[in-house]
């Protein structure tokens, strides 16, 4: 021991709590999660929204949701129609239920496409590096630089009318649903690809990867069995927030009339044209809009909580 007693690090150790009883891992995780009542709120709300959209199908039939009754058009919320009726007399409550199913479904499946593409491109780019990386990244950047909404609108126009209505389980869906899912997935992957690439770039320098290579593990195995599982955290977070983004994107373009087409309802296309009736019938846009807001809000809360839980180094709110 030299002449000093325990050299200290940079700042004066104000909070130097030596010898304090250490918290167990369980206590630590619980504390952090408790700090995220918001995340819990988000999860619960999402759950309720799912029940609303999918469980509500047991209360109202789809026929009822599409039942037009022009005599009853534009009625304010009442006991017969708790959310009022729209421009052709359809019950808005029922439509938000069925619309919710589609909106949520689109959100989830679009993210699946986004994940597949983003992870694949990001992984290849990050792992192989060199020219492949340069090329892929240029391409990624290029797509990123075109604002997503414009790409979506153009692609929606491009595919418009090309896919016919689909019949599944006795219900008819507009082909545009498939179109929307695809184009949202196809325009959202760059963001994720970047994240995955960054993870791969940093992880592949690790010793355990060198060891794996030295024992002859194939590249595919290294990517999928070694690196990918270690980079799950940011992928999960990005994926969660991606669902919110997908739902919003669908809402935006449906609102502009280029999204999901009738007969299928979504929260977004229920808002289309509602601004013409802003003075007379606010319930036209209020209910679908609030539902979208609640969904996005809960997903954001949840994503925030996940981010804090999975990455201890991130800055707390």
């Amino acid at each position: 021991m030299n002449s000093s007693v325990e050299s200290s690090s940079s700042a004066p150790a104000i909070y130097d709590v030596l010898e304090a009883p250490p918290l167990t891992l369980g206590q630590l995780t619980w504390r952090r999660f408790r700090r995220h009542k918001m995340a819990i709120f988000g999860a619960v709300t999402l759950f309720l929204l799912f029940i609303y959209a999918f469980g509500g199908a047991f209360i109202f039939t789809e026929k009822y949701a599409n039942f037009t009754e022009t005599g009853a058009r534009l009625q304010a919320p009442s006991s017969a129609h708790p959310f009022g009726t729209d421009t052709v007399g359809r019950d808005i409550l029922a439509r938000t239920i069925y619309g919710g199913q589609i909106s949520l479904f689109i959100g989830l499946t679009a993210v699946i496409i986004e994940l597949l593409m983003g992870v694949m491109i990001g992984a290849i780019s990050g792992y192989y590096g060199g020219r492949i990386d340069a090329l892929l990244m240029r391409f990624t950047e290029a797509v990123l630089n075109i604002p997503q909404i414009f790409l979506l609108l153009v692609m929606a126009k491009f595919f418009a009318g090309k896919i016919p209505n689909i019949q599944v389980l006795g219900r008819t869906y507009s082909g545009s649903v498939v179109v929307i899912i695809f184009i949202i997935g196809l325009t959202s992957w760059p963001y994720l690809a970047r994240i995955v690439r960054a993870e791969f770039l940093s992880l592949k320098e690790n010793d355990f990867i060198m060891a794996a290579r030295a024992t002859g593990t194939s590249s595919t195995e290294i990517i999928f069995r070694h690196i990918l599982p270690n980079s799950i955290a940011p992928i999960v977070v990005a994926g969660t927030l991606g669902v919110a983004n997908a739902i919003l994107s669908e809402a935006y373009i449906s609102f502009l009339g280029m999204g999901v087409q009738p007969p299928t309802a979504t929260w977004g296309n229920m808002l289309e044209g509602a601004y013409n009736y802003i003075e007379s019938s606010p319930w036209l846009w209020f209910f679908p809009g609030t539902l979208i807001l609640l969904t996005t809000l809960s997903i954001n809360f949840l994503g925030d909580g996940l981010r804090d839980a999975l990455d201890p180094h991130s800055r707390a709110a």
Binding site: A11, V154, A251, M258, Y275, W285, G289
Partner: protein, 344 residues
């Protein structure tokens, strides 16, 4: 510094090239220009053939791209549709500023069509950007200084909600409250349609009045996000050692906050604001539709639905180039502001 700028610009060129290719490929399949051009008469195949040759659409796709890029006045075409090439093309290509003519507004150059509406969108976006910068700094600093107070918690709550809101919802809600209901309650209400009241004319005050709701709708989301972000960076900065040093020198509190702390805290926001442009543009599209603002967003929608390829392409290109340029500007500004960055 100049070398850094040049390097960034050179890096951007291949990027722009790739973007142009992507856009071109997309546009090739966007509707049927023949139908748009020829109106109702293009059903006979011989007519279609003639038009196809006239518009140069029978050439392979890379040729079409080339023509689009650098024009076709150096090549000869079959003008009268008789199968023999005799006249030179008239297009100069986008690199020379020729974006073609609108298919919907017959014969009017695309640049004119866009140029008509561009300033309006610029007014909207620049105002929004200013509002965002000023208010997010203000609110962020205020929140950081009053951490955990009631106002801070309120602001954080509103920020979270605002950040999750779709633009049209904000637009509709604000419309409903500030226009519809204010009117009902006899309060002075805000206009919701267009850029100015045609009866009053395009005066500055009119435009300003009409700007309020649209700008509010566009900027609300970004405001929510950035004020939280600034709050975070401010708090981080306030905990740094150099703030403690400044305090120990007896520097007045105001200077500590606005000189020592803010200069450090606001640096990252430069980068973030730079990346925000695409979002603002997206917001503009929706907002212009709702508030009937005569800008490029509306133009885009109108001409897209009518398959007016040249105009749509022109707008897309313009926007993409703007995004790239803006990013370069942001990087340069950041490098200029932060003394720690050395550029070789």
């Amino acid at each position: 510094m100049t070398r850094y700028i040049i390097r960034r610009i050179l890096q951007a060129i291949p990027l722009l090239f790739i973007i142009s290719v992507i856009l071109f490929v997309l546009m090739q399949n966007m509707g049927d220009p023949l139908a748009t051009m020829g109106g109702r008469t293009v059903t006979r195949s011989s007519e279609r053939e003639r038009l196809t040759r006239q518009l140069g659409l029978d050439k392979p796709i890379y040729m079409q791209y080339l023509y689009w890029l650098i024009g076709n006045d150096w090549d000869s075409f079959d003008r009268d549709g008789d199968g023999i090439k005799e006249s030179a093309g008239v297009r100069k290509g986008i690199l020379r500023g020729d974006f073609g003519t609108s298919l919907v507004n017959r014969g009017i150059p695309v640049t004119e069509v866009i140029g008509d509406r561009l300033p309006n969108t610029l007014i909207l976006m620049l105002t929004a950007e200013l509002v965002i910068i000023i208010f997010s700094l203000g609110i962020g600093v205020y929140s950081a200084l009053r951490q955990y107070s009631f106002m801070d918690n309120l602001i954080t709550g509103i920020s979270f909600i605002g950040y999750s809101m779709p633009i049209f919802f904000i637009a509709l809600v604000s419309m409903y409250i500030f226009s519809v209901n204010f009117k009902r309650w006899g309060l002075p209400y805000l206009p919701t349609v267009g850029m100015f009241d045609p009866q009053v004319g395009k005066t500055t005050s009119e435009v300003l009045r009409h700007l309020i709701l649209p700008v509010f709708s566009i900027s609300f989301i970004s405001l929510a996000a950035y004020s939280r972000y600034i709050r975070g960076t401010m708090l981080e900065v306030l905990n740094q050692d150099y703030i403690r040093t400044a305090k120990s020198k007896g520097i007045p509190r105001r200077d500590i906050i606005f000189v020592h702390a803010l200069k450090n805290a606001s640096l990252p926001i430069v980068t973030i604001i730079g990346l925000d442009l695409p979002l603002l543009l997206a917001g503009a599209v929706v907002t212009e539709r709702i508030f009937a603002w005569p800008g490029m967003g509306r133009l885009f929608l109108d001409h897209l639905t009518r398959s007016d390829t040249p105009v749509v392409m022109g707008i897309l290109l313009l926007i993409s180039v703007a995004v790239v340029v803006f990013q370069i500007l942001t990087d340069i500004t950041y490098a200029w502001l932060d003394p720690r960055i050395t550029y070789k």
